[in-house]
Amino acid sequence: MATMWTTRVRRATIEKIDPQDALPDNQPSYVASWIYVFGVLTLAALAVIIGSGLILTVRGASWWHTSGVGHYVNSVHLWAVELFFVFMVVHLWGKFWMAAWRGRRFATWVTGTFCFLSSLATAFTGYLIQGDFDSQWIATQAKDGLNSVGIGSFMNTLNSGQALLLHVALLPLGVGLIVVWHVILVRKNGVVPPLDAKEIAGGAA
């Protein structure tokens, strides 16, 4: 008898999760540095990006040009993105200098790089759909680069409708899924020990 699909999915997922690992209430003693906060700060900024972005979508693409409230929400969206990238870059460099890919954590690093690259693409489409001079300028400038390697034949920066839909559907979905995957990997592997760590059971030597 073949095992039921449902059983297999359960074994591969829920049964693998130890609640203590998923949401631990303690961390190894070496997890004590400001640098650890930057992953969480990046997540928090992403939450604000998504929240402000959702408000902007509800009222439509040109709302913020005519409404004071809309303009403020647009400003929140912009500054959330700027801070998101600042936090992410500090986080990234931190993880680099900690060589945080050690001990089968390469996949965590790789999903991190995809967080960065997919965020870049999403931010780019965001700039295309502002509906102001900056959008026109970026669209006409960026097309040459994309066209030069053939991408422009599929992604037309001058087509605001395409950029708008990419920016609010496929791309944020991609960023969201990759970030979730990244964070699951971090939880699954535990926080990487210091370089040249010696495990001293039962307390610091």
Partner: protein, 311 residues
């Protein structure tokens, strides 16, 4: 390093632990970050430089508009000589033997003379237009090019299309471009160039390509310090931070060999592709993956651990 150390990296940590409230950390981060962003937004705001229209172009720089329209007829503008994905007027950029631009195909067909000038002129109510367009259409391609090129040269020489003295050498081109200018100035060209596919437009390929062929748009960009050689890619209108994370991209346009290369766009894309592969596989790159050991910032990050364990 020793196998022992590797094992420590791999295994579940069984050394000393300390209480750590992840959820509380996340909630506090959310509150702090939200307040910080809300404050930045209130203090700095965001730019909203109004988009330019063809109408503005026609009204503010009529001679540039007429010269550009003439260029579309002569086939001398950027769009007219672009290549894929718009037309087959050029091979496009290459990457050594790879003709990626050409191979990707003409997926967004644009024939500038036809799309930017002749089609919109069908909506002109100027009584001289039907005859002018008929004359144009009946002429040979060589004759058309000659008329347009001569008129373009005359505009350049006079410095202003309004100062060009009438001459049969320009054929119907002055009548056609003047009528197009009227369409732009009264505001109808903006609509005509966007509503061909559907009257509810969301695609601005036509007007933007036309606009970017002219000098007016370029000048506005320069005023906002947005040119490529002004690091424009990562700038925003006004003094707002733009896509600063594109600094590497922007940087390459400032340096040789790219700065003066005809294939700068494709070469820089290829370079970035390689650099990003390097970024993704950084942990596997010899030497680079040893940098964290060679330059020991980690001693600072984990100083408490090293101190407490006399390491």
């Amino acid at each position: 390093m020793s196998t022992k150390e590797r094992n420590v990296d791999l295994a579940k940590w069984s050394g000393p632990k300390r209480p750590y409230d992840l959820v509380k950390e996340l909630v506090i981060a959310l509150v702090v970050v939200t307040l910080l962003i809300g404050a930045c937004a209130a203090v700095f705001g965001s730019p909203d430089e109004r988009a330019v229209t063809l109408q503005q172009w026609g009204q503010n720089a009529p001679s540039d508009f007429v010269a550009t329209a003439t260029g579309e007829l002569a086939g001398s503008t950027i769009s007219a000589g672009y290549g894929a994905p718009y037309n087959d007027a050029a091979e496009g950029l290459t990457l050594g033997p790879l003709k990626l631009q050409k191979w990707a195909g003409i997926t967004i067909p644009v024939n500038p003379a036809e799309d930017f000038v002749l089609k919109p002129l069908k909506s002109s109510i100027d009584s001289a237009v039907p005859t002018a367009v008929a004359t144009w259409s009946a002429a040979s391609a060589d004759q058309q090019a000659k008329w347009a090129e001569d008129y373009a040269a005359a505009i350049e020489k006079a410095g202003d299309s309004a100062k060009v003295v009438e001459d049969a050498a320009y054929g119907p081109v002055p009548v056609m471009t003047a009528a197009l200018l009227h369409l732009a100035q009264e505001g109808s060209l903006d609509g005509l160039l966007t509503t061909e596919v559907t009257p509810l437009p969301s695609d601005f390929t036509m007007p933007l390509l036309f606009l970017a062929d002219g000098g007016y748009f370029d000048e506005l960009g320069a005023q906002q310090h947005l040119h490529g050689d002004q690091w424009g890619m990562m700038n925003e209108t006004g003094s707002y931070p733009g896509q600063s994370w594109l600094w590497m991209f922007s940087f390459m346009y400032q340096i040789e060999p790219f700065k003066s290369s005809e294939n700068a766009d494709s070469q820089i894309f290829a370079m970035l592709f390689l650099l990003n592969l390097g970024f993704i596989f950084m942990p596997k790159l010899p030497l680079i993956n040893r940098l964290p050991r060679l330059i020991p910032f980690h001693r600072l990050i984990w100083r408490r651990y090293y101190r407490e364990n006399n390491l």
